[in-house]
């Protein structure tokens, strides 16, 4: 192995970032080639790197390890780079330098973060993902996107600051900045856990995903859906594998976004809720922490990036052609966009975990691990959530956009590059489902797991087909909630409405109190002035003219008192 591969410069992350710097100055016609060549080159480099810790550099007096290649980091970096290639293809037609540059810097930062061997390197790349990604939201160039982007950035930076504080406390307590198992035994461990939890969209910390992702550009949303949350999942797997609390957190995460997804009208927001729900499966896997469960989390992240990307791509294509992505406005698009509809259905069947599709061979590892470790509540939650996934991502997204009643849109099919990207992603989804061996081969632990047992296939089909039957029954009987325009309150209401209102209330209260105090003081001053005027004013007692008789009387009285006192 050539020894240059051990240097910090030989980093796939830097390949992407240097590529981004070049795109910033290359002529437009070269962007297309470059968007595909750079991720491919970075992927080739990643697989040339030998296993182990490389890329040691000194910074701020710390010895940083910028390249840690092991089973866990390599599978994550691999799927990030595949994602970068596919989104590059999808965004080929976009004539916007800012989006291309930020997409590559963002991907590079995410790859750098998963390859980071220490917490300081992780922090640097962690913040870089936040800053690079916000431009994909701002690139929508609307006022709303501007506001949403700012809100997104604030939350991402808070996560970064918590990571930094946690790292400092952890370093003082242990003398080490190594990014290995951290656990919740120390305050530093807790701070870092919350930092990861924000980016992993833990319940109640989740809403930045649903707020920000649907406001990004058509390709921006696809790109955003890949990196930040899965980087957090990787970090949890690295630092908190086997932490019991994660099983509960993950189980809640799989269930509660489903209800929002069912009643949400913006289909890209439905997918953002669905993304949240899928992250829950991975978090449960990490909480269980056995080799099978961690393999399941890693495999599910891999498959999830592809099918979730595919679903976002198909909805992006609809938005690109029709101009809206509201379920209440869409319908019947299979006539105009048959290929997009077909690819969307592949994504839907993959996320729903139908046999022969990617979700089936990955999600089942997590469920099996939960069952083998007797976590029956979590297992039931995951089962219910699986039926929920079938509704919002399996049925709702394709049904209300491509089928249902014809909304009358007659548009062209998606651009060729979008179709190619969707086609390639769909092929990967089916490929993994039909032949999972290559994916299993690159998992962090050796697996002896076979998803295609008779019982498993039959049970999964029973679950899904009866859920589909329930949809038919509810829809035909008119019980299925109709798609209507509107916005649903979520936890972001706290910081978008409640806290500003409380702030305004406090401001009003303080202003009123100040006014009262000023009025009270003014009244007191008035009384004092009145009293002084009484005493010393032109008509006051002190300014009165006295008759000499009265004066004589007082002098006589004083002299008498004087005489009395001293005699």
């Amino acid at each position: 192995m050539s020894d240059w591969l051990g240097h910090a410069m030989a980093s796939p992350a830097l390949v992407l970032m240097l590529g981004a710097a070049l795109i910033a100055c290359l002529p437009r016609w070269l962007h297309g080639v470059w968007l595909l060549v750079i991720p491919a080159a970075a992927l080739a480099l990643l697989w040339q790197l030998p296993m182990g810790m490389h890329g040691q550099i000194g910074l701020f007096g710390f010895d940083l390890t910028t390249l840690r290649v092991d089973g866990l980091s390599r599978i994550w970096a691999t799927i990030f780079l595949i994602g970068s290639f596919l989104t590059g293809l999808y965004a080929l037609h976009v004539d916007d330098r800012i989006q291309h540059v930020s997409a590559l810097v963002y991907a590079g930062a995410a790859v750098g973060a998963v390859l980071a061997g220490d917490l300081v390197t992780l922090f640097i790349y962690w913040e870089a993902t936040a800053i690079a990604s916000v431009f994909l939201i701002w690139a929508s160039r609307t006022i709303k996107a501007h506001i949403v982007g700012l809100r997104y950035l604030v939350i991402q930076v808070i996560s970064g600051l918590l990571l930094m504080m946690g790292t400092i406390i952890h370093y003082h307590a242990t003398g080490s900045i190594a990014f290995d198992h951290l656990g919740l035994a120390t305050p530093g461990g807790w701070l870092i856990f919350v930092a990861f939890g924000i980016k992993a969209a833990f319940p109640l910390l989740h809403n930045w995903v649903q707020d920000a992702y649907p406001e990004a550009t058509v390709s921006g949303t696809v790109i955003l859906s890949i990196y930040t949350t899965k980087l957090a999942i990787y970090s949890l797997a690295r630092g908190y594998a086997g932490t019991e609390a994660l099983i509960t957190i993950g189980a809640v995460m799989t269930i509660f976004p489903i209800f929002f997804a069912v009643i949400e009208n913006d289909l890209r927001r439905v997918l953002a809720y669905s993304l949240n729900n899928q992250l829950g499966f991975m978090v449960v896997g990490i909480g269980i922490g056995t080799p099978l469960a961690l393999n399941g989390a890693a495999a599910h992240a891999f498959a999830h990036i592809l099918y979730k990307g595919l679903l976002f791509m198909s909805m992006g294509a609809v938005l690109h052609r029709v101009g809206t992505i509201k379920a209440s406005e869409l319908g019947g698009l299979y006539k105009s966009m048959p290929w997009t509809a077909a690819f969307c259905i592949v994504g839907s069947m993959s996320i729903s975990a139908f046999p022969l599709f990617s979700g089936f061979v990955t999600k089942s590892m997590i469920l099996t691990a939960a069952a083998e470790n007797h976590h029956w509540i979590a297992w039931l939650a995951l089962l219910v959530a699986s039926a929920g996934v079938l509704d919002h991502s399996g049925i709702k997204v394709p049904f209300f956009s491509f089928f249902h009643h014809d909304a009358g849109f007659r548009v062209r099919e998606a651009p060729l590059n979008m179709l190619l990207a969707m086609g390639a992603t769909a092929a990967l989804c089916i490929g993994i489902g039909v032949y999972p061996a290559p994916l299993y081969a690159i998992l962090p632990f050796d697996v002896d797991y076979s998803p295609y047992t008779t019982a498993h296939v039959v049970n999964q089909l029973q679950l899904l087909m009866f859920a589909a039957l329930a949809f038919v029954v509810l829809f035909r009987s008119g019980l299925y909630p109709p798609e209507v325009r509107g916005l649903n309150l979520d936890s972001d209401w706290v910081y978008r409405r409640l806290l500003p209102r409380m702030g305004r209330g406090i401001h009003r209260g303080v202003t009123a109190l100040r006014a009262k105090i000023v009025a009270g003081l003014a009244q007191l001053a008035g009384i004092a002035q009145h009293w002084l005027t009484e005493a010393f004013g032109t008509n006051g007692a002190a300014a009165r003219t006295w008759t000499s008789g009265v004066m004589l009387l007082w002098v006589t009285a004083l002299l008498a008192a004087y005489l009395l006192l001293y005699y």
Partner: protein
């Protein structure tokens, strides 16, 4: 952009829709029959009950959709609830405060 079609599309014909529904029902019936023909490996006991997975799928789905439907009146607001809608022209100054 839109023009009325002379005849309904493939997935709008009642015959096709009926066929799809009939297929789903048939497959479901087949999957219940299949209960008799494979060896179960229950982990908890209850997951080995007859027709556990079909029931779980049907009940869980109905619960999720109907519960969400009941939540909707409490959660749903106007699309411009947060007053962050884009003004038609960017020149129009934004109000930095939403006074109701």
């Amino acid at each position: 952009m839109s023009q009325p079609d002379a005849r309904p599309g493939l997935f709008e014909r009642t015959g096709v829709i009926r066929t799809i529904i009939a297929l789903i029902v048939l497959i479901c019936a087949g999957l219940v029959v299949a209960e008799f023909f494979y060896a179960k490996h229950p982990h908890f006991g209850f997951d080995g009950w007859f027709a556990f997975y079909p029931l779980a799928g049907f009940v869980a789905y109905c619960f999720i959709v109907l519960a969400a439907k009941m939540l909707r009146p409490a959660l749903r607001r106007n699309e411009d609830y947060y007053n962050e809608r884009d003004r038609q022209a960017l020149q129009t100054p934004m109000r930095d405060d939403d006074h109701e």
